[in-house]
């Protein structure tokens, strides 16, 4: 009866290994719900403090290794190709070919949602109470203060970050956002939308270190069907969200104007 013994031994050993590797559980608030409070880095899969997780390549090439290739190491966003209607896809492609000089962020305007979650070069601080969750984004120093279990107000006027309300579905915080203007981008270069944008974000703190993020983007005026993107946000203990006053010394609009005026070629081939 050697075989069962070895199987039992192997099973026991692997159980111990799994237990030893299991990440710490997500903390919970007084209401028993997972607590998202903390400073987070979007579009990263690496656990640890900011300087450790971004060593080597580093996000946006900020790592300390000068021999690291110039790629954006730690980011990871999973999506299907954006399902734009043909006329809208042509507009997205035109922004890409113009290398994004029409980016609202180049004017220091809010970049858009869920794009703010995906910008991993800058951290995000979340503060959660039983009645409210507040997202503070270092990028552009904008915030969203979101009531939990409240309806959208009846008098929404279009804004850059829209109107958001949240509710819990099990361990997932679901944020429903409407009331956007049409001046921001959804994710990458040129991903515009209309004022009919309806965004549903799902935040699931699956462990102490990690939030699984999913956004479903619905905008029948420009998309052929809802578009879903997924990424992870990683806890960055010890990182503080800092000031970022973009308009301080923004020379880019003037540079773009000169490029266009002087006919300097910069379009993609």
């Amino acid at each position: 009866m050697r075989t069962p013994f070895f199987i039992a031994l192997a099973v026991t050993a692997s159980s111990i290994a799994i237990a030893a590797q299991a990440p710490a559980a997500a903390p919970r608030g007084a209401d028993g719900k997972p607590d998202l409070t903390g400073v987070w880095q979007g579009s990263s899969t690496r656990p640890g403090k900011w300087e450790d997780a971004n060593n080597g390549l580093g996000v946006g090439g900020t790592g300390k290794d000068p021999n690291a290739p110039p790629s954006l190491g730690s980011q990871q966003v999973i999506t299907e190709p954006a399902p734009y209607q043909p006329w809208a896809a042509a507009r997205v492609l035109e922004s890409f070919n113009k290398r994004g000089i029409d980016d609202p962020a180049a004017l220091c305007l809010p970049p858009g949602v869920p794009r703010l979650v995906l910008v991993s070069l800058f951290p995000i601080e979340i503060v959660q109470t039983p009645k409210r969750v507040v997202f503070m984004y270092e990028y552009m120093n904008v915030f969203r203060s979101i009531p939990i279990d409240a309806p959208h107000p009846p008098d929404i006027a279009p804004t850059y970050l829209g109107d958001s309300v949240a509710h819990w579905e099990g361990n997932t915080l679901v944020v429903d956002a409407v009331g956007f203007n049409d001046k921001t981008w959804l994710t990458g270069t040129g991903t515009f939308h209309s004022e009919d944008l309806h965004l549903v974000e799902r935040y699931t703190r699956v462990s102490k270190d990690r939030i699984d993020f999913e956004a479903t983007i619905d905008d029948p005026k420009v998309l052929t069907k809802p578009w879903t993107i997924r990424t992870t946000m990683m806890l960055r203990e010890g990182t503080r969200v800092q000031e970022y006053v973009c308009a301080e010394n923004n020379q880019d609009p003037a540079q773009y104007e000169r490029l266009l005026k002087e006919g300097v070629g910069f379009r993609r081939p």
């Binding site: 954006l72 190709p81 290398r99 800092q242 010394n249």
Partner: protein, 146 residues
Amino acid sequence: MTMTRRVAHAVAATAALVMLGAPARAHHSFGAEYDSNQPVTVTGVVTKIEWTNPHSFIYLDVADAAGQKVNWKLEGYPPNVLYRTGWKRDVTMKVGDTVTVFAWRARLGGPLAHSREVTFADGNKLFFGPPAGTGDGGAAPAVKVP
């Protein structure tokens, strides 16, 4: 569902998706303003450092081929990113220091470039700016090209 089937399922689901790079970029289009096909390395004396948003700038007196001083302007990360990258304002690099900067030249020409790596007199190196191609849309557009 067995583990094998679950794994096969996950692999199939992942294969159907696309990994999108790029949203880590900050603020502006590197590719519109600077040319990744024109790398340049300059060594000179720091005359001014602007720790400003949305981007910082190093100004460097560099001797040209004729021995004339030319003041180069080198763009880089904002102060918050520099801080997380290991820079300390007024400590890591000061006016009067001699440094070498690897950069890419501006499409507009002149002594203007986008910095990447700064090498200090003691041989230490730090990144002052992002890799070439940051913020200009990444390797592929978000939509399928027809």
